[in-house]
Homo-oligomer: 246 residues x 2
DNA sequence: CGGCACGTTGAAGTGACTCAATTCGCGTGG
DNA sequence: CCACGCGAATTGAGTCACTTCAACGTGCCG
């Protein structure tokens, strides 16, 4: 199992960063711990000081902020291959929480091991760093999404983003991928009410561009969906994967 | 002048990360290029592939997205000591632009020099990485700000954030700091109309919690402002500075 | 003096929100 | 077996906060 985990991580990092066999071996010296958690479980909470970082093997996680009043804002969605709280390696205190959106499988990497790794293997450090930079680019796009786009466009945009990322992660099945969010959660991600989400969704369905049901997202007409969202995937920096680093 | 620049950079990094004299010397081997640019100048544009990263010495910069329709969304503000496009070191293509909000002084660091530096000096790499992670935390808070908070609260929140950061950067004068944004720009930062900004500002002024005029922000009653914004500075990760890294 | 950028204020319009009722599917338990 | 409760989604109706539109004031600069 640990070998499997390391192989997945290596695969992910190699999509954008070139790593030598020396660095592969260094990765293989890590000792991840495997775990499964159920839908709705908080993996880390705002205010925690984790001593591990999570590598998501299967399922979907979300980061979120909670205000004192209890309102929730989802910040990002994470799929297999992501490292959703890698930043906790260098930022002691969690400024947000991490929750499982369905049944997930994860691996824990000890911070002290990661720290040693990045100190000894600069190329690995650069690969992990790059990963967090892509996360940041996605955060930026989220600001624009809630700030500038209208409800239907906004919904279409996240759906585009998720599908594009799922495809890059090779976890699509044909034209569909897992998407376990309820409309309430979607509302808290997109800063719109449940009712608006429902109507926007109906609109996209009626246009026959996309369908979301039973926890799956199915793209009916990618061109149409992309046009509706004005989705430009460059911020996902997937081209790095093709180019294999700089 | 270059020495001055390196000293500033070192100072900033040392606020959250411990660096030895060896690493100091490595930093000193960099050859920054100095430049001044006027208000409104774009330093980098969406789509560019910069081969330098910017260190902001004086003044204020902003990152922004532009949609095809031309609408603009400001993503982040940057003050002296920030490295507003450090991510371009590892993400080839810029997914956003960078503009000067007033007359600014900057230093350019060549990517190839930075690359060599982070490859040879892991502690420096970690310090720079941490810097980008703090930026990401600020992006996350921006999502919540536009997504969840009401206009007055939202405005109060950015003002709190900017003042707190200015104070940490030691560029306050008493209870005031530079804040050169027009209300139109504030609107594009906060995803609200110019009119709403004006009214929200009037409200805060009337409450005697803060005043913004002539490009300066003056805090009249920090407690009141902070309460209004429900501002919790932990996401700025300033405590790292006190603790000097992990 | 005129033009322009910026900010303020009033008034009108509207899009998204809240509230509410209904349906559907699912699991539990009488 | 069916009744019931619950979570989720849909749909209609009314309200309201923020937007847009517009007029005006102010300060600055050519």
């Amino acid at each position: 199992m640990p070998d499997q985990i390391i192989a997945s991580l290596l695969h992910r990092l190699c999509q954008h960063s070139a790593l030598s066999s020396r660095e592969e071996r260094a990765l293989a010296r890590l000792h991840p711990r495997f775990a499964e958690v159920t839908r709705g479980t908080d993996l880390v909470r705002q205010g925690d000081r984790p001593d591990v970082s999570i590598f998501l093997l299967r399922g979907m996680l979300a980061r979120y902020h909670t205000l004192v009043e209890g309102d929730r804002q989802y910040l990002a969605l994470h799929i297999a291959g992501d490292l959703p709280d890698l930043q906790s390696l260098f930022l002691g205190v969690m400024d947000h929480s991490l929750v499982a959106l369905d049944a997930v499988q994860i691996a824990y990497f000890q911070h002290d091991q990661l720290c040693r790794l990045v100190e000894e293997e600069p190329r690995v450090a650069m690969a992990l760093w790059r990963q967090t930079l892509i996360d940041a680019a996605i955060f930026r796009e989220a600001i624009t999404n809630v700030g500038l786009r209208k409800p239907v466009e906004r919904l279409a945009h996240v759906l585009c983003e998720q599908f594009a990322r799922a495809r890059a992660a090779k976890i699509c099945e044909g034209e569909s991928c897992s998407f376990p969010l309820t409309q309430t959660q979607l509302g808290q991600l997109l800063a719109m009410s449940l009712v608006s989400v429902s109507r926007a969704m109906a609109r996209l369905r009626r246009d026959r561009s996309v369908d979301v049901r039973d926890g799956r997202l199915t793209v009916l007409d990618w061109k149409k969906l992309q046009a509706r969202a004005r989705f430009d995937p460059s911020y996902l920096h997937l081209e790095l994967r093709a180019a294999r680093g700089r």
